[in-house]
Structure formats: C-alpha cells, structure tokens
C-alpha cells in the first residue's frame, strides 16, 4: 500500500533521497515536498560559479517542475513549515496540514551570525542560498567595496566571486591563517598569496567588533578600532544545523538532530538527513557524506538493510587558480610523521601525515593532481611502508626526481635583486653569463655583483649554476641547517629581494624541507624577518631561545637571573633600595655586580618573574636585556663630570647611546663602551663599538672582542660632535642588523665584509641617514620595556597551567 511521505526541505540531500526512492520503487510512497525557498532542488555547490558569473541559476537546477510532476511529487515551495505534531503524525504548513506515515526532516543549516552591533543592517548578507547569491550580485559593482567576514571555504568563494565582479574585497578572518580547518599554515600562506595576487586583501587575526552605518552597512569596525569601509558585508563565519522544528516537536537534538545509522530520529517514524543531523557526535557540511546519508535513508524507507558510516572527506576550493586539496586528518594525534615537499619554482606545497605505516592525512597546494590517489590511500588504510620514500611524488613516480636544492634561485624572476650593495638583479647576471662571463670573477668584473661586501657570493654562484648547468661547478657552501639548502647569507638576501615577510613565506619560497624549521634555523629566520620588515613582521617569541622569550637568563638549575638596566652604569639610592627589597622579597640567593656596570639577581624562580619585574618597574627600573641578542650595556667612565683627565661628557654620551639603542634586536649581542679620555677606563677598545673621547672630539671604533677571542677595536672614523658620534654608532648598528649572519658578533661580520666597505657605507651621508631612519622605524616598535609588557599581558603564562598533584595522588 502506498504510504504518505512528507519531506521538509528541498536540498541536495533530500533530492538524492527522492531520486533513489523513485528509481527503486516509485509506488512505495506518495511524496509531499516542502521548501521554504520558492523553488526546488538545485546544486548549491555551484553557487560560487553563479556568483562570479560563470554559470546561471538555470545551469545548476537539478530538479525542475517537470521532473517533480513526472514523478508525482507534490511540491509546496515557498511555504514554511510551522510545526510538526509527532502524536497525530501531521505536518503543519503555512497553507494547511499534511498527514504523514513517514517524515523526513532535511532543513539543512542556517548561517551563523556573529552577535555584533549592526548585524541586522541592510547590506549585511549571508551566503547560503540562491537568494543570498542574487542579493550579492545585485549589490556588487565595479569599484565598490566588500568586506567578507570569515576566511573559510564559503567566505573565500564569496570573496573570489565578488572580486571577479570588480569589487574591492577585504577578507576579515579571526584565525592566524585561512581555512584553518582544512589547511595547515604553509598551505594557508600559499592560498593567501594567490588571493592577494588577485587583489583581495586578507586580514588574519582580525576580530569584528561591529558593523556600522546609518540605515545601511557602511563599514566594518575591527577590534583595535580600525574601520574598513564597505558597500557590502558578507557574513560567512560558519553554519549551524537548522533544528528548530525538531526541537519544538520534542525530538532528541544535540548540536544537530540526533539520528541512528539508519537516519532515524528519536521518533521511529521521523527521519532526518543532511546538514541538520548529528550522527555519533559528527556534523556534516560537505556533499559526499550527505549523499551517503541520502542513500541509506532511502533504503531505510524501503525497509532495505543499510547503515551510514562516517568516512574521511576531502576538500577542494572552487576558486579558479587556487589549486588546493586537503583530506583526512593532518593535525591531531600522536605517533605521526610528516613528509613535506616544497617546490618554490612551481609554487607547490605537499604534506603527508603518516601514522603506523598508513597515510592519515594530506594537504596539497599548487599541484593537486594526485589528491584522489592519496585520498584513496587514506580511505583504504593502505600500508605504505614499501613506497614511503617516494610516496610524496605520487603514483606516476617510481625512481628519480628528488627536491632540487637550486629551485629557490631558479624560481627567482629576472628583476629579483641579488647584490644589494650594487643593485644588481638576476637578469643582469644571466645577461652577463650569456655574454661570456662564466665564473665568479668574470661576473664581479662585468656586473659588480658580489664585488662589495661579498655576502651575495653564494647566490651569484647559484645563478651561474642554474644558468650554466654542469658547466659550472658550485663550491660547497654550508647551509643554515638540514632544514634547507641555503646559507644564512643567501636567505638574508632572498628575504630582502623577494620581499618575504612571514615565516611561511620563507619556508615555501626558499624550499624548506621541514614543517617549521628547527631550533637552529627558526631563530635566525625570525631575526632576519623582523630586521628587514619591522612593521610587517611580528616578532615570534616561539622562535626564540628561552632567555629571549622569557626576558631573563635561564640558569643551570632552571631558575633565572634578573638584571635591571642601569643607564650608562649610573644608579641612585632609590633604585638600589628597590633592588635590595626585591632580593629580600623573592629570596634571591645571589646578588652580583656585573662587568657591564649593573646588578644581577641570580636564582629567581620562573613563576616569580612577573612579580619581581612589577616591583622593579615601580622604582622605574626596566629590563637590562642581559639575555638578548641585542643591546646589552654601554659601559662608561665618569668623564668631565668628576674626572680631572676627562675630555668630554662620556657618561652623558653613554646614557644617550643606551637610550637610543635599547630594546633593538641584533644578530648577536652588542656591547658598547665610552671612555672620557685615552686612559680608557671604560675598556671601550674591546667592545663591539667603543668610543674614546679626546680634546678634538670622538674616536669611534668597532669590531672589538673580549670573549672567546680577544681583539682590539678598529677605527671606524673620528667625529667632532656628540651628535655625530651617536649618528655613526646607530648607523653602524643598523648596517650590522641588515647584513650580518645571525650569531656573528660584529667583529666576525666586519672581518667578512671588510672594514673598508663598512667605512664607505657610513661615510656616505645619504646612506648614513637612511640607516638611521631605518633603525628609528624599527625602534618605534621595539624601544620599550618587555618586562612591563609581560607583566601586563603574559603574566599567566609564567605559572603552571594546572596543578594535578591532588588528582594524580588519589
């Protein structure tokens, strides 16, 4: 006997249910289909091509009126269902009741609206259905501005579509990288790069505070009070199952409508399918599992045995030119191993995650041709031990091809600057090679590339190798570490010329072989990035050695030492009292006077650091950076203030220098000395920079050492005024910051580039002014007390996260 089946919602899942039903047994049910939208089933996945204009609604209709008529489906489109009465087995629509024998709820999902002021203003649109899409198309227009809130799959498809329609689009994303649920940071970087190339502005770690406008959305206000003007705001932060009817009907609802493996709800005659259901704690948003559910449901309605099982899903982004693939689980869990392949020349990133000889996850960007092969390996749980070494090259590969250490240089465009000193680009060098310059000396002679400071020598040689192939023998250079094939000098140069402004950019464009470097390369890369891009790149504490992360020196027993700054070695009774009080209060076992004219409190517990800093801050004391690759101390003598031999105010100059330089990060530590006369009581001539005051002015010397090596400074220049002495010192520090290899003290760096070259740069007044300006720009970020900052914002991180001693002892 024909039973009555009512279906609420004409989406892709219920559409597939009806198809399967009518194909298998067209007489089993008399079907009534409700849909709140005034139309039947269409392919929602294809809304993006409709938005960007590649397709029309007609192209994406799956079931038209004829189809429904032909299969005897009673359509009640554009009619909302008001309630379900499971006792009487009746569905109440806006235009009347319909009784049912079996009911299917397929209400899908509703967009999540972030609860900010202005969310209901006209001009704020979500992105779920055809009406939303048409509203966006209507609002779009050449030169108009759109802000898309949400950098997930849906948000980015909306952004790309709107950009395609000529809008100026900004994506505001709460997390650190785009599509964080499907992609890792590295793939997120590449996606961002490609979207930015199409003119879409991406703002990550940006939180929306409000949508503002007078009667209509006009701008998005971010936390931090920045406003982004907007003619259109698209809210695409996520979806939640649409469960209201089920909840009102008294069905079991958790996050979604709870169903068993036959898609049956807590009422045996009521079923649910699609994005509105929750099965075994899972929600569903992609189409593949929904089709599986639809098939199982159709079988259940026809009393055929079947059961829904949750499978891994694969994601692809439907944005032309952004080729990405992600499948399985590439983030969580223990006992896992990564295989990473990066090809900067082709913009390719692949990462496979392996667990117990099986592939469990894959992320790919740039070349996703092998995606389905990997996906199959994941789904089948195939043992991959045999092909482990070559797995990442895909099914086509067996033998040959490994990653090319020269690919980063091969990928450089002709206009990429190789020699910073002389402004020589790759193209100039390849031209010179074409004209017969086939070795380093000839390149130097004809182009001047690497003829000045010489730090780009390695890159010039790689350009020779890439251009000439085997005709040029590349001298072996020491890469930074096993994570990459490039030297420190190469990486520094390429960060500048390629304008690499994030760690992920460096990992990808320079072909890193690990996920995020190691304890050797990452601190170096972190420094290079912050030195070259002080405004764009944010210092990453997790890429720093513990001392620089915690702003204190770790001791062998895990306690720390605390050294407040004493400007130029000058202190006063109230500072000394504060230090003495702190030493008492925190039971500091050792108080020592340092060689840099200040006081070291040794043996402070890590948990006490924020408290002792807060106490010292109250007395006006700030961090002495006694732990950093940065400015340590400026040692002074008393100069003309008290000494009968003093020629200038050496203490005053020392204080000014320390106040100008403090807080700056440098390749290695920097110590200064200023002596008031050639008797040199401040021992200035074994410092990184030493100034000797004389009657005629100031002798500025650099590149001294008094550590593993002992070396006297070399004269940089003589100047007549105090201001000039300060300028020359700052310019030298900035030149060192811009050019030296990480962990080379100034004397090692000067030995490599030559004192002559340094002198030339400093003597050039334009260059000196540029260096000073660049240093000041950086200091606008870094000239501040990290102790005060940590007391305010990071104090909790110094405490244990939890104390389980009681629980664990039970």
């Amino acid at each position: 006997m024909t039973q009555k089946l009512v279906i609420i919602g004409a989406g892709m899942a219920s559409g597939r249910v009806i198809e399967t039903l009518v194909e298998t047994d067209s007489d089993a049910y008399d079907i009534t289909l409700f849909n709140a939208e005034p139309r039947g089933n269409y392919n929602r996945i294809m809304l993006s091509p409709v938005l960007c204009g590649e397709k029309t609604y007609e192209d994406i209709v799956t079931h038209d009126d004829d189809w429904y008529a032909q299969h005897g489906v009673t359509c009640r489109f554009g009619e909302h269902v008001v309630a379900i009465d499971p006792e009487l087995k009746v569905v109440e629509g806006q235009n009347g009741h319909v009784p049912y024998d079996k009911l299917v709820i397929a209400t899908g999902s509703a967009p999540f609206i972030i609860p900010v002021p202005g969310k209901d203003l006209p001009g704020v649109i979500t992105y779920r259905d055809l009406d939303d899409t048409n509203a966006m198309i209507d609002a779009a227009g050449e030169g108009k501005r759109a802000v898309v809130i949400g950098g997930g799959l849906l948000g980015l498809e909306a952004a790309a579509g709107l950009a395609e329609r000529g809008m100026d689009v900004t994506v505001v994303h709460l997390m650190g990288h785009l599509m964080e649920r499907q992609l890792d940071e590295a793939a997120g970087y590449l996606l961002r790069r490609d979207l930015e190339k199409r003119g879409i502005t991406i703002r990550t770690q940006a939180s929306t505070k409000a949508i503002i406008g007078d009667g209509r959305a006009e701008a998005v206000l971010l936390e931090g009070d920045e406003t982004l003007p907007a003619d259109l705001v698209v809210m695409a932060v996520g979806i939640r199952p649409e469960t209201r009817l089920a909840t009102d009907a008294g069905l079991d609802v958790a996050r979604g409508i709870e169903v068993n493996a036959q898609m049956q709800t807590s009422d045996p005659d009521v079923f649910a399918v699609g994005e509105c259901v929750e099965f075994d704690g899972n929600l569903f948003g992609l189409v593949a599992p929904l089709y599986d559910q639809a098939k199982v449901l159709a079988h259940a309605l026809l009393d055929q045995a079947d059961a829904f099982v949750v499978k891994d899903v694969a994601t692809k982004l439907k944005v032309t030119g952004c080729d990405l693939f992600s499948a399985g689980d590439f983030a969580e869990g223990e006992g896992r191993e990564d295989i990473v392949l990066r090809d900067p020349s082709k913009g390719i990133y692949k990462r496979l995650v392996i667990e117990e000889d099986r592939l469990v996850g894959a992320v790919m960007y740039g070349d996703t041709a092998d995606g389905n092969w990997f996906f199959q390996l994941i789904k089948d749980g195939t043992e991959i031990d045999e092909m482990r070494d070559t797995l990442i090259f895909g099914p086509a590969y067996q033998g040959g091809d490994t990653s090319d250490p020269l690919s980063a240089v091969a990928a450089l465009p002709p206009e990429a600057e190789i020699c910073g000193c002389n402004g020589i680009c790759k193209g100039t060098i390849t031209d010179a090679i074409a004209n017969g310059a086939t070795d380093l000396a000839a390149i130097k002679a004809t182009t001047k590339a690497s003829a000045s400071c010489g730090t780009c020598t390695g890159l010039v040689e790689q350009v020779l190798q890439v251009t000439l192939g085997d005709a040029f023998e590349l001298p072996t250079a020491q890469p930074i570490c096993t994570c990459c094939d490039l030297t420190h000098e190469d990486v520094r140069r390429l960060i500048k010329s390629q304008e690499l402004k994030s760690q992920d950019a460096v990992w990808q464009e320079l072909g890193w072989k690990t996920r995020n470097g190691c304890h050797v390369c990452r601190p170096a890369v972190n420094f290079y990035l912050l030195a070259d891009w002080p405004l764009e790149y944010q210092d990453d504490p997790q890429s720093r050695f513990v001392n620089e992360r915690k702003h204190a020196n770790i001791q062998k027993d895990g306690t720390f030492s605390v050294v407040p700054r004493m400007w130029g070695g000058i202190t006063n009774p109230s500072e000394l009292r504060a230090i003495a009080d702190a030493a008492d209060k925190y039971n500091v076992p050792t108080v020592k006077v340092t060689g840099g004219q200040r006081i070291d409190l040794l043996g402070v517990r890590g948990e006490d650091l924020p408290a002792i800093w807060a106490d010292l801050n109250k007395a006006g004391l700030v961090s002495g950076h006694a732990y950093s690759k940065g400015l340590r101390t400026v040692k002074t003598c008393v100069g003309t203030d008290h000494c009968r031999f003093g020629t200038q105010d050496s203490t005053g100059l020392g204080i000014k220098l320390e106040q100008a330089l403090w807080g700056s990060w440098t390749p290695h530590k920097v110590k200064l000395g200023v002596s008031g006369c050639p008797r040199n009581c401040a021992e200035a001539t074994c410092k990184d920079i030493g100034i000797i005051c004389v009657d005629s002015g100031y002798q500025v010397s650099v590149a001294g050492a008094a550590g593993m090596d002992v070396k006297e400074t070399e004269r940089l220049c003589d100047v007549t005024s105090e201001q000039e002495a300060i300028d020359v010192t700052i310019a030298f520090v900035q030149l060192y910051r811009e050019n030296a290899k990480y962990l080379d003290r100034a004397y090692k760096w000067v030995a490599k580039v030559g004192l002559d070259w340094v002198q030339e740069r400093i003597a050039d007044l334009d260059e000196r002014a540029r260096l000073i300006q660049a240093f000041e720009l950086s200091q606008s970020i870094y000239r501040k007390d990290p102790w005060a900052e940590h007391v305010q914002t990071k104090a909790a991180q110094y405490q244990p996260m939890a104390n389980l001693t009681l629980e664990a002892a039970e």
Binding site: N516, P541, Q797, M801, N803, L804, E807, A808
Partner: protein, 109 residues
C-alpha cells in the same frame, strides 16, 4: 582512562609550551600546531633542563640547556641515549584533556 580538563587550547601559545604540576613532577604540554598538543615529562634526562622552555619545531622539542632534541611522539632523544615519558592527551573542542589515570599508573609502576 581518567581524562582531566587542564585548560583551553589557547592557554598554550602556538609552538609554545606550558607545564602542569603532577604527582610525578612537572609535565610539559607542547602545542605543535593549531590543534595538536603533546604531553611529556618536563625534565631533560641529560642535566634536568626544563623542556617546556625549549623551542618547538615540527613534532620535536629542543632542550634549552644543551640542545638535546626529543621526538614528542616517542619521547626518544635524537642521537642521544635518553628518553622522556610521554602521556596521553587529547583535545575536545577547545579544551585540553590529559589522562590522569596514566599519571598515577606510571608512578605506581
């Protein structure tokens, strides 16, 4: 299994670590990626360095005192004769859970 909620995932900075106090001594929690956390002994078997103060890279931790590198999956030191205890930990939603039973069982063993 006795899963104990020890905090929000964002209590640990990305590629950072925090420690918890347990009856077995300090246990460090390492956040190696957005949604990946490992738990292991905080104490380096070499000279007792606090591993939660080290640099995290990939799924490894480098001890801040003498640069011993440990694989957080196994606790095995890279190229050295040493190993740290690892503990089951999982993420549920935004919360980090550690297996308290394991901490006790290990201490009894």
């Amino acid at each position: 299994m006795n899963w104990i909620d020890i905090g929000h995932i964002d209590d640990i900075p990305l590629r950072g670590a925090r420690k918890i106090k347990t009856a077995l001594g300090c246990v460090a929690l390492f956040r190696t990626s957005e949604t990946e956390v490992f738990a292991a002994s905080d104490t380096c078997p070499h000279k007792g360095g606090p591993l939660s103060e080290g640099i995290i890279h990939g799924q490894s931790i480098t001890c801040p005192l003498h640069n011993w590198v440990f694989d957080l999956n196994t606790g095995q030191a890279n190229g050295e004769d040493g190993q740290i205890a690892t503990y089951p930990v999982r993420i549920e939603g935004d919360r980090i859970l550690i297996d308290g039973a394991k901490l006790v069982a290990q201490s009894a063993a």
